[in-house]
Symmetry: D2
Subunit: 378 residues, 4 copies
Amino acid sequence: MVGGGQGAFIGAVHRIAARIDDEYELVCGAFSSDPEKSKLSGAQLGIPASRTYGSYQEMYENELLLPEAERVQVISIVTPNHVHFGPAKMAMESGFSVILDKPIAFSLAEALELKKISGHTGKRLALTHTYTGYPMVKEARQLVASGKLGEIRKVYAEYPQGWLSTFEEGGTNKQASWRTDPSQSGIAGAMGDIGTHAFNLAEYVTGLQVARLCADINIVVAGRKLDDDGTAMLKFNNGASGVLFATQVAAGEENNVKIRVYGEKGGLEWQQSDANTLVVKSLTGPAEIYRTGGKYLGSFATHNTRTPGGHPEGYLEAFANIYRNFALTVRADLDHERPAPECLDFPGIEEGIRGMAFIERVIESGKSDNKWIDLKIE
Amino acid sequence: MVGGGQGAFIGAVHRIAARIDDEYELVCGAFSSDPEKSKLSGAQLGIPASRTYGSYQEMYENELLLPEAERVQVISIVTPNHVHFGPAKMAMESGFSVILDKPIAFSLAEALELKKISGHTGKRLALTHTYTGYPMVKEARQLVASGKLGEIRKVYAEYPQGWLSTFEEGGTNKQASWRTDPSQSGIAGAMGDIGTHAFNLAEYVTGLQVARLCADINIVVAGRKLDDDGTAMLKFNNGASGVLFATQVAAGEENNVKIRVYGEKGGLEWQQSDANTLVVKSLTGPAEIYRTGGKYLGSFATHNTRTPGGHPEGYLEAFANIYRNFALTVRADLDHERPAPECLDFPGIEEGIRGMAFIERVIESGKSDNKWIDLKIE
Amino acid sequence: MVGGGQGAFIGAVHRIAARIDDEYELVCGAFSSDPEKSKLSGAQLGIPASRTYGSYQEMYENELLLPEAERVQVISIVTPNHVHFGPAKMAMESGFSVILDKPIAFSLAEALELKKISGHTGKRLALTHTYTGYPMVKEARQLVASGKLGEIRKVYAEYPQGWLSTFEEGGTNKQASWRTDPSQSGIAGAMGDIGTHAFNLAEYVTGLQVARLCADINIVVAGRKLDDDGTAMLKFNNGASGVLFATQVAAGEENNVKIRVYGEKGGLEWQQSDANTLVVKSLTGPAEIYRTGGKYLGSFATHNTRTPGGHPEGYLEAFANIYRNFALTVRADLDHERPAPECLDFPGIEEGIRGMAFIERVIESGKSDNKWIDLKIE
Amino acid sequence: MVGGGQGAFIGAVHRIAARIDDEYELVCGAFSSDPEKSKLSGAQLGIPASRTYGSYQEMYENELLLPEAERVQVISIVTPNHVHFGPAKMAMESGFSVILDKPIAFSLAEALELKKISGHTGKRLALTHTYTGYPMVKEARQLVASGKLGEIRKVYAEYPQGWLSTFEEGGTNKQASWRTDPSQSGIAGAMGDIGTHAFNLAEYVTGLQVARLCADINIVVAGRKLDDDGTAMLKFNNGASGVLFATQVAAGEENNVKIRVYGEKGGLEWQQSDANTLVVKSLTGPAEIYRTGGKYLGSFATHNTRTPGGHPEGYLEAFANIYRNFALTVRADLDHERPAPECLDFPGIEEGIRGMAFIERVIESGKSDNKWIDLKIE
């Protein structure tokens, strides 16, 4: 693990996600850029001092000296955005597979570079767009792909939060500080932090790609350096249209990412606050309530569920689904087998590139007087 | 009543709304532009043949010949949009008060003309933007006005329907036919029919005005002549931003108009499908569930409720609130009293003008390559 | 109308319900046992002084002197329970049809007597068990009757209120005072006031009859004279079992009557707080959300709905359905036609008798050390 | 681990729960009474063959031969009910701490015996009544204890399932087979399997004890040997009353355990299908929505939450809370420290004894013609 020392939120989440299905063992780490803090964090996590490193470079180099059977296989990178590219690049070049917290990099250029590196090293990379790890989101995607809704016409994706409604940065709130700091987050604040999740969710569920967008990007709280709010009208590559909004100043909102999709024959609705439910709407009959664990669900939802119906699974399990599917895929690679489609179903470099393109274009659109901007990736 | 003969949906709704609080008696009508049909409808409604007329002109002229105590006092106009201006203008000029189905007219110019006529005749006009008639919407407005949410920052208004997901016009579906016909509806379809409701709701609850907008307007169903879908990004006169969408092609959706408003200190959420509930969110504490009939509610919600808490009131009662408040206001006028603020709280000509301006600008924006268009009324 | 003067809650509800569908006109009343108050109430309601009476006896006698075309046809009785039998008996004997607020009488004996009087006078009587007037409750009954759920096994009916959590009686709260007074309410408090509604709902939806019960009846608030809380375990005539509870001391609850029914093949759930929704559950597939106005609904729900899907109807409309169906039935009688099943679908004397039997037996069971008591009506 | 081999549901749940917080390592197991199957399961779980045993006796004996630092410390017993007592007794006598799937034993007598053994060995025992592991259930308990609701008056606990609506036993459904088999489950079916959870939830949240009960216990599905449905009316030791029902024949229901509690000043409502929400109701003001992760929550909810508000935690995390708190307590014991109240907050032998007493009395009541039966433990 790179990053994730004391005080980090997402590092702990990654570790739980890795443990849930017993496919991973945490064997080494460079938990902080401060070697002293890294040692302390390693000790707390029960990692031997010999494998607690002061930097990712040191870690990779030392691990490569170990016998293959003992050596780390997958590197989990949970640092702020500006420290994604370096450790991911070097990890793949050192022969390790990579799990990377989103967004994939600091810029689209870095993301495209990672694609090249993955290509020539043959190493895989998973990106933790957690929300597409929920079983009912996977069911939604499978339903759309099956044609049940007909051709898709409308997509509404939203991600409201309220925790940045006041000026939190610069104090003890480490999460607020780095996420609003351009030198650590990149060119986008809310749009990079949570807007990309909504974007990923929209493209994942529909199987479509955003072709054009028109955005309104705002800094609502005085003194903030990056956007804390934004909306984008979307045009998809099949002609469908949609709206995406992400905000961190919706006072009183927690984290209720939500998607609605409508096609010629019906619609669907999913939201994280009721994560085990997918409402499937029909042009003619009553709406149906699909529930995690239902025996009528498709192969993707079923593969990603651990308990029978009525035992709610949540955010950590959705996160764990990415870890588990990545493990099953890497294992299949090692066994020279073709991974099942249900195992290959984790976000990776392509999703990372599209996310970075979204960030760059949506910020560009926010500053532009022109209405529509193409989301194209050269 | 003008319009509202057999087969009409909204005419029957107006009549129920007028009856609920026993403030009105239906005494005459020109129920159809076809005198034969008008007679038939009048007979069904128990109106004497002598006061069932073949045209509104005939009705106004004949009613003026009656003694004042017997004469109709309020004219309810429930015709398609292109027959709003004429009967409303002549009604006011004939000395009648007017209740008009929304939108107020066929064009902004007509709406501005009605304002002048109201001004010099001194007659009042109510516009049935029903959704602002719900007690919990009134509570929302009063809460915002009280400063409980702090300065408003974000407004999300939406109005999804699915009933025009297929090509319905030209057949037996009278509702679909006139609403998609430019000669009866005007320049807008969905945006005029339901978008104006969402717009009115947003301005009513926040007490703000939309200053600029940027819209994406679509005809989704092939062959349709007017928009059946649209989205507008909004900028309000206090600097707040927002999104409004209205669509009639969200297959499986009924009529769930919804609004969310966020300020510096909290937020609120209301939707018609749970009309007796207003969720009030806080930056720091738990959200609260305000309910119709609650003793903690403000004067506007209380004034507009007929039953104790837990006895749900619905669409017809919201509609009736407009009728009742208009009656109380007109009665106060007759008694030379100043109507209470709770009675004066019905949509009128100003709301009608803003609605027409919204329609004209949002359609203009939909056709434009420029991003932001001012919503100004010359 | 008998009763329903100033300060009465349910009288005003009856009048709105009667007006909604324009099938009734309020022509006369004995609004209070105090002639002075009756006159005042009549004047407020726009009833001529000549037809505002000081007692129901006076009203019936005088109305019978009027020509048949002018005479009142239907008597609406909205007095406390101890003044149900007298005016209902005399009304039927005078040739009037009767709408009676529930429960039908002060005792089972009175209810049985009313049945006899109805039998030999040929006059009809409707009882306002409002909750079975909701379209989705009617749909539930029709679904069960259709066999969709298979043989019924379990029934859970509940009616929680909180408004009597403190000692309210004896003061200005007229509602609390008479409902907790044995001389006006009869032998039961909560069980008579709201328990009978839950009982009626359970028998209506399932089409079954309660055969035996075992009850726990409580006076929770010190000083109260009648039960304010109770639970009954139920056995139905087909062998199904169930639970019914009604309480007025569930602090914070409004009026959320709810029913759940389960059969061999599925279940259903309805509650007043979401009155336009019926959730239909399946042993094998996803649950379905039936909604008022849906085109897939049966004839009973459709007959009892005034607006298209998504325009919520509430308590007053449910109440109005009883009034409307009674009017359609009485009118068919007058026309010597057979009323349609959908019109005949209102609670009447049989439901009233069963309600009184429930009250007597449930109170008896509450006092008994024996477990099961038969609900038989001699 | 004792039990939990291939095909077992709850064994896998225990293992995930143990892993989530990294407080446990699975080091040995007797996964099946069939040594061959045990070996296979151990191999799958990555346990060395040397520590995969054919019986719990063999396991305990062999583990005791290992140096203390390598030896297993906590035994997790996940067998059917008839194999709870033996391995738990011997584990404690061998010096191991015990985590036991509920119910604690096959009979009340066994449970009382385990208490004695725990007493003289000084070993702790945790019982996985999972539902009291949810943060919002803990908040509910803390709120009641704080007096916020005033003296408790009413308790409604329910646990509806539908998965045994048809005759499932004797086939491939291993879960159905043992749970309906008296030789493995004991004298109760649904009441033991899920009724005890509802019972534990009711006593945990209220801090009260059930003093008397009156039950209706049914075998609904023909051919079944144990109850699949039951209801009990309850009287608590403070005079409060309540209802508990548990059923496995509510066709279409999943696993939605739910509790409602009402006191003099307010009420609360929690259900597993919306596990991160606790609705707190007030006699006078609006209800409040408490949410997992809220900064306004008490110490118990906060201690048992891993993620910020809006990241739903579910069943596995609730299960993990029992494991984690037990580990923290055992660790404090080893360190000769007093465990914090938040750590000691896991179900144990006392809860197990009360659960067994409930099972025995509720079944006895179901067979009795007497109304009330005392729930006393000699």
